[in-house]
């Protein structure tokens, strides 16, 4: 699998969530994703960017193009040095929240993409990686 970095957005304020959405929308469109998939990816990115802002205060989103077996994918990595997630299993449960939200962010974002990986520990920050393949079954 080949990975080519194509963009990044520093998240340090609420307004950067909007910047993340714009960037992801442009990159997904450039890679040839259809309109519904673009809506899915951008919505997932919005949830994850808001988590970075809300829980860590700041962080970064890295955007990469993946190529594997003739397929094209978009990978988004959200990294922060925030408090980390104590119990990832619990954080993935629908309705579980420590941030006063709906508790849909992580589990909801997961349903909108093809793959999601979370690396986190208390005090170690959080890295959430999501991948959407073009023309995948969840399209």
């Amino acid at each position: 699998m080949e990975r080519k970095k194509i963009n990044q957005v520093v998240i340090s304020g609420e307004g950067d969530i909007l910047e993340v959405r714009k960037t992801v929308r442009n990159e997904a469109a450039a890679l040839g994703f259809g309109p519904t998939d673009i809506t899915r990816i951008v919505t997932a990115a919005s949830e994850l960017a808001r988590n970075v802002f809300r829980f860590a205060g700041d962080g970064v989103m890295l955007c990469a193009q993946l190529s594997a077996d003739g397929r094209i994918g978009l990978e988004l990595v959200f990294e922060d040095q925030g408090p980390g997630i104590e119990n990832i299993g619990q954080a993935m449960e629908r309705g579980f929240t420590t941030g006063g939200g709906l508790g849909l962010g992580l589990p909801g974002a997961k349903r909108l993409v093809d793959q999601m990986d979370i690396v986190s520990a208390p005090g170690q920050g959080t890295r959430v990686t999501v991948v959407k393949w073009r023309g995948s079954k969840a399209a």
Partner: protein, 122 residues
């Protein structure tokens, strides 16, 4: 899209709000405040939220819409959300958003029809 660009329009006995395509969180929160102040100021039956240009409805945006509808209801008014796009409906459902008894319409015309028979708040 920043705060000053949204307007809450009173048309006869209805408030009509055209939600900008990609509002930031601040704009969304400001919109709620503007709507509630207008509900207080005018004798309107209710509110139509036109979201036909909105492409991204994430959980924060959705929660604000649901809460605003509830607040409008507490003030004796009705809310109809009009014009949700197909991609947004698909994504919102997959995301797990629950809109409860929030009333929706295909477009603003039909939303007006729905509110025509709503009781006056007077």
């Amino acid at each position: 899209m920043t705060g000053e660009s949204i307007s809450v329009n009173k048309i006869r006995d209805i408030l009509l709000v055209t939600v900008p395509a990609d509002p930031d969180d601040e704009t969304i929160s400001l919109l709620q405040e503007k709507i509630l102040l207008a509900m207080e100021r005018y004798e309107v039956k209710g509110l139509i939220l036109d979201i036909s240009t909105v492409e991204i409805l994430d959980s924060f945006f959705a929660r604000t819409i649901i809460e605003t509808a509830q607040m409008v209801r507490l003030m004796g008014g009705r809310t109809v959300v009009a014009g949700m796009r197909a991609g947004v409906a698909i994504t919102a459902t997959q995301l797990g958003l629950v809109f409860g008894d929030l009333r929706t319409a295909l477009d603003v015309d039909r939303a007006l029809d729905m509110l025509r028979d709503a009781p006056s708040r007077r």
